[in-house]
């Protein structure tokens, strides 16, 4: 409770929390408010917003309900963003911990691999991966994580390098603890806070990457995504701009909310550190 209060100290954090909460509510309520297939035809094509009360945001070129698509798109965006970020943080912290703790040849090999991934732009990597393996939600998550794990890996390694010289690591060796247990039970949990501080940036980037992949037609074709909606509306941008603008605004607000909430978390942990 105390932690939550400290988190909600800054107006940015409150704004971020509200946006994220709304988004989560949207994602959770989508199947309740809009049961059935959001990609089913619901009315006349290209109905502008605020004309028909049953279709408040109008319909797209095929007559699909834009509001339903928006709600279901929130599910995809959140799911992909969180899953990709979780995968990237997991891979990154494991690789970084192994490299930093083992040192020597293991460190060299792992860090050269990290370099290799870092020199290729993340989006290009995701693009190549999805076009080879084929678009499905799992593949999109893996593709985004593939380009995002290097940052956490570097941060984790730097942190582990300083932690492994501490007395308690020597103490763990003295009592005969296995090196892997030392790395993952004694060192990794203490190296995590700066790595987790990256998570908001990674979630936001993952949501944008997913949208970009969908925009290029490389998203999961069986799911509504905001990127896909923007791509869909692009062809009628002059006659029905709302088709691209509405999901665009949703995307901007989501990324903004994730950033602000992430800043709030970092800020509140920084305060806690300086107090203790």
């Amino acid at each position: 409770m105390n932690r939550l209060r400290r988190f909600l100290q800054t107006p940015e954090a409150i704004a971020g929390a509200i946006i994220l909460a709304l988004l989560i509510v949207m994602a959770l309520a989508a199947p309740l408010l809009f049961p059935g297939d959001p990609q089913a035809i619901a009315g006349p094509a290209l109905l502008p917003p605020f004309q028909d009360l049953s279709l408040p945001l109008g319909t797209d070129r095929l007559g699909r309900d834009v509001l339903a698509e928006l709600f279901h798109g929130a599910r995809t965006s959140l799911a992909v963003g969180l899953a990709a970020a979780a995968a990237a943080l997991l891979i990154g912290s494991v690789v970084g911990t192994l490299a930093g703790f083992a040192g020597g040849l293991v460190d060299d090999v792992l860090m050269r691999i990290t370099d290799a991934f870092q020199t290729v732009p993340g989006f290009l990597l995701a693009l190549a991966f999805v076009s080879i393996v084929g678009p499905s939600l799992g593949v999109v998550v893996a593709a985004i994580a593939l380009g995002a794990w290097t940052g956490p890996a570097r941060v984790a390694r730097a942190e582990v390098l300083s932690i492994r010289e501490r007395d308690y690591v020597a103490g763990a060796r003295v009592i005969g603890m296995h090196p892997l247990e030392i790395a993952f039970r004694e060192v990794l949990p203490n190296a995590l806070p700066p790595v987790l501080a990256l998570s908001s940036v990674i979630v936001a980037a993952a949501i944008l990457t997913e949208a970009a992949l969908s925009f290029l037609g490389l998203g999961d074709p069986n799911r509504v995504t905001w990127g896909g909606m923007i791509a869909e509306g692009r062809t009628v941008l002059r006659t029905a701009p709302f088709l691209s603008v509405v999901p665009g605004i949703a995307l901007v607000l989501t990324v903004l909310g994730v950033y602000l909430a992430g800043e709030g978390v970092v800020e509140s942990t920084a305060v806690r550190r300086s107090l203790s």
Binding site: D167, Y168, A170, A172, V174, G176, H178, N190
Partner: protein, 258 residues
């Protein structure tokens, strides 16, 4: 009977590109239930010797025999198993424990790793260990950062004796404690030595403390043995220049005692 025999131990480091000897041709032995003190100014190689003996760092030359077997020949699982018999207590009891740990977890680790007690039996063993070092068993659920420095050092000692070692390396183990607590911890160490026949490698720069607990002393000067012998005799009448300097720097010892 000899617990630890170190011969011709050497460790070199590079400082500013130039190699220098942190430990240079050091030999000593420690018998069962004996306390050997390593004294010397900062940078004389005391802690390096402690870390070499514990295999936290590897020597460039020399031999370490522990309980009659070549300790440097061990590696991997055999080394980890052997570590049960050779424990350490660090100077800063806060830095010596994982900041996230509880007292129970700290004491649970050695019991689990060396299969000393079953999972069901361990809480009882932890309580017994805490009582053995003069702490209340209810302390087990507390976080390490919640207890006092003296209590923490007692927990460190409890962890060291959990695996029934024959030798404990005490690296400035009482230096960070205030004077009243220091006396109690030294009492505890002496009591444990009498009952469990544990040998101590006692590293300290404080000759007053060394005189109170050590049987023999080695005075180190820039990685070499300057002099060695019976602790009281050496402190009463040091022969080496560094020994004289250390005695002169300890005000309590120059004053006459009843």
């Amino acid at each position: 009977m000899t617990v630890l025999a170190v011969s011709n131990l050497a460790k070199r480091y590079r400082r500013g590109g130039k190699p220098f000897a942190a430990v240079d041709d050091v030999s000593f032995e420690i018998g069962r239930a004996e306390t050997l003190a390593l004294a010397g100014p900062s940078g004389s190689g005391k802690s390096t010797i402690a870390r070499l003996v514990l295999r936290l760092i590897e020597p460039d030359a020399g031999r370490i025999d522990f309980e009659g077997a070549d300790f440097l020949a061990l590696s991997g699982a055999a080394l980890r198993a052997r570590r049960a018999r050779l424990q350490m207590v660090f100077q800063d009891p806060l830095a010596a424990f994982n900041p996230r740990a509880t007292v129970a977890r700290v004491l649970d680790d050695p019991l689990r790793i060396h299969n000393i007690a079953s999972r069901a039996e361990r809480p009882r063993r932890i309580a017994a260990l805490l009582e053995r070092v003069g702490l209340d068993a209810s302390l087990a659920s507390r976080a390490i950062h919640e207890i006092s420095g003296g209590q923490r050092q007692r927990v460190a000692i409890a962890r060291a004796i959990a695996t029934r070692p024959s030798l404990i390396v005490l690296d400035e183990a009482v230096s960070a404690l205030d004077v009243s607590v220091r006396g109690q911890i030294l009492e505890l160490l002496l009591d444990l030595q009498r009952q469990e026949r544990i040998a101590y490698l006692f590293i300290s720069h404080d000759l007053g403390v060394i005189r109170a607990v050590a049987h023999r002393i080695i005075v180190l000067d820039s990685g070499r043995v300057a002099e060695s012998g019976d602790a009281r005799a050496v402190i009463a009448n040091p022969q080496s220049a560094i020994g004289k300097a250390l005695v002169a720097a300890t005000p309590r010892l120059t004053r006459s005692r009843p």
